[in-house]
Each structure stands twice: as C-alpha cells, then as structure tokens.
Amino acid sequence: MTAVPAPGAAADAPVPPMPSTGVRRHHWLVRLTHWLNAIVLTGLIASGLQIYGAFSRFGLKGGMRIGPNPFEGHGFPRWARLGGWLAGGLNWHFALGWFFICSGLAYVLYLTISGEWRSLLFRPRDIRPAIQMQLYYLGIRKAHPPQGKHNALQKGAYTFIVALGALSALTGVAIYKPVQLHWLTALFGGYEFARYWHFVAVWVFVAFTLAHITLVFLVDPASLRAMLTGWYRGRFPSHD
C-alpha cells in the first residue's frame, strides 16, 4: 500500500524543491558594476602595461632601484597592451580611470545604503568562521560551517578586493598629480614608490581574478549565472 501522508503530518514531508526561479541574489547595480569593472579593469591594465613600457623600472634616475620587479627593463607583448603608443595608452588609462572610480563608488554606495555591506564586510568576528571554513576546505573539518549569503572567507576576499581597488585608484591619482596632491603621494612613500605600488596592485588583481574565476567554475558555477541574471539556483542558497 502506498504511504499517503495524513493531513497534519507535514513536518515529516520532504523539503519541497526550490522554486525554479531560485533565490534573488544580486541587485542590478551590483551586476552592472561587476561586469563594467571586468571590462574597464581589463582596459586599465592593458593601457597601464603600454604606459609601463616607456620606463620599465622603478626609482629615481641615478637613485636607488625599487623592487623586486621581475618585469624590469622590458615592455609587454603587443597583445597585452592597449593604445599602441604612450599617448594612446595614457588617453585610454585616464579615461577608463573615471569609470573605474565611479563604478567603485556606486558599488560601495549601494552596499552602504542597502545594508548589504553586512553580508560582505569582513569584520573581527569573521576571523573564527574564516578559520573553520579554511579547515573545511582543507578536509580537516567534515561539516560545512553555517554561513549567511557568503562564507567568512568570501567576505575576506570581497572586502580585500574593494580595498585593493581603492589602493589602485589612490596610487594612480598620487602619480597623476604628485605636486598638487603631494600629501597623497607622500602617503605612499613618494612618487617612485606610489608608481611601484600601483604596478604591484596590477598583479594582485590578476592573481585574484584568476583565483576568482577558477573557484566560480570549480566550486559554484551557478554563481556565474547569478551574477548575470540576478537569480541563484545553485547548491549554496542563502541561509539568511
């Protein structure tokens, strides 16, 4: 005889499948700024590598060499550059910089006003969950630690990348106007060091992006669609 749940026995019934629409995850502004940034940052890095080729070392002429710099003394291949020559690279860089800063400000402003920063900003209380999450990833801890929209390691990553974006923009402005904004340039150790940190930030961005893309495809491919459509239908729905 087929077991038919009696009325009132709903507590024993299996959890109903998630609606096919999934959960609402990303506001349109978050998706817009994310993909705008993907394009703009690609252009900024490519035009930046074009600019770098005009003087491929760090430090004052006749002064101390700043490093380490594995790229010292040579430019980058043509496929990696944008602008064709120094002036072209500069014009792309100084135009795209506005989009980078504006999209970054729009994103942070949205998080602040919507309150979504709470699920993204890494705070001291996230340190313990971050360690637990790391233990889980290493296979030492068996159960997936409870989490909100993002786990503590993700919060750390998303907080770090916003800080890196701010650092890139500020070091960029510092080497753009080292006389009028000399206090900002001095904050990064002077023009030559600000230029170096601006360059180092590029490789941190590249490493972060490669890890980010790898994790999306290996761990949670559904998050890619969520960043496109706004709806998440994967295996890590929000616990909020």
Partner: protein
C-alpha cells in the same frame, strides 16, 4: 544541484569576453565611435587638472646632494642637437596680446632678479630626476610685457624643428615657472635647451620648451608638438 549553463548564458559571456578582447591586443585608438569620447575625456582631465592648480602651492625643493647629476636624461626632436650658429644674435621675443612687446638679449635676462631651486623633474614616460635650475620668473617678464585682458594662454616657440607648447595662464604665472639659463649651477648646456628654456616643477617635461625663442600671449588655446599628436594638453602635475 547545479544548473548547467544555458546557451543564453554562454552568449552573454561571449559578449563580455569579446568586448574585453576588442580593447586589448592592439593600438586601438577607439575608432570613429570611441575616439571622440576619448578626446572629450582628455579635455575633461585637463579641466580637472587646471582646477587643481593652486597659484600658491609650491613644488617641494630638494637638497643639492640629491641631484641626479649625469643620470638626468635629455632629448630634442631635431635629427641633430639644435645649436645656434650665431649665439650672440639670439633674442627672446615676447608678443601677442601684450601692451609692450619685448625683445631681450640673454645678458638682459640674466640682469633681472633670478630664482634658483632644486626640484624633481617628472617625465611623461614615468621617470623622475632631480636638478637645480636658475632663471628669471616668467611673471617678471609678464609684468614688463603687460598682457591685455584678452590673454588667456601662453605659447612658447623654439628653434628645435618647430617644437612648441601651449600653456594655461595660471601655471605660467606660478612663482616656480621660470625662464632658465643655468642647470646645476652651470650655464645651460645645448642638450638641456641652451641658451634659454622654460622650466617648472608643476608640469611634465614635454611641456617645458627648450631652445626658447618666442613667447606669445593668446586668447585661443595653442596646441603643442606632442600635444597635437595626442599627448595630454595640460601635462600638469
């Protein structure tokens, strides 16, 4: 359970990746669609830069011991180093929208009150170097020439194969903008623009006209040798 990517998702990814690939990998100047936008952004950056210039903020000065010495690079656009055939016949001409057009010899310029500073030079290429420059503040010459109310820009011409620059009046009138005739306490060498060059620690090196011959006050914005080819016009630091 993970949903497989749909065709539409892949198409969207393709559009994004395609846009990224389009802007890289070439000397793309933006094409007919984006080039005007880039030019407009460059002018916006010039305006922001002009707004940032404070007439009273001085660029930092350095001790003489920090000079870059022989490591200081130099360049010119002529095929060979421009040298005057008749140095004694050289004159600086000041004209355009001025009440008193001037013609000055080097000796007359050197007799005027001088300024000496040791400052950092920023090249558009990204290198920096420190040197001492001595010369006449441009404001001294401006006071003598008395520009009219209509003057808004300054044009500097040279005998280096038509090399020239256009400046905003505000930076031209900055106390650290000088007409330099000495470099590291020695008379200006030909490779640094002898007999007279424009100098300021507030602008990139390509704005600092060497081998100077003529100063012209104008109402319309003058271009420049590199600026006409696409380099940022203001070149302000």
């Amino acid at each position: 359970m993970t949903e497989p990517l749909t065709r539409r998702d892949l198409l969207r990814m393709g559009i994004v990746a395609g846009a990224g690939a389009l802007v890289t990998g070439c000397g793309w100047d933006g094409g007919p669609l984006l080039k005007p936008g880039l030019t407009a952004m460059a002018r916006l950056n010039d305006r922001v830069g002009e707004a940032l210039v404070s007439p009273h903020r001085l660029a930092r000065e350095y001790p003489v011991s920090e000079r870059s010495g022989s490591a200081f690079p130099m360049y010119y656009v002529s095929d060979e180093l421009p040298v005057l055939a008749d140095p004694a016949g050289w004159r600086l001409t000041v004209g355009g929208l001025v009440a008193n057009p001037l013609t000055l010899t080097l000796a007359q310029l050197q007799a005027l009150p001088r300024v000496t500073y040791t400052v950092k030079h920023h090249c558009v290429e990204g290198w920096t170097a420190i040197a001492t420059w001595t010369g006449v503040p441009l404001t001294t010459i401006t006071t003598m020439a008395a520009p009219t109310q209509a003057a808004r820009y300054v044009r500097f011409d040279s005998f280096d194969s038509g090399y020239y620059n256009g400046w905003d009046l505000q930076t031209a009138m900055h106390p650290q903008t000088i007409l330099a005739y000495a470099y590291n306490d020695q008379p200006l060498r030909p490779d640094h623009g002898a007999p007279l060059r424009l100098y300021s620690p507030l602008k990139l090196g390509y704005k600092l006209t060497k081998f100077l011959t003529t100063i012209t006050f104008t109402a319309d914005r003058p271009g420049g040798y590199w600026e006409d080819q696409g380099y940022p016009w203001l070149g302000g630091l």
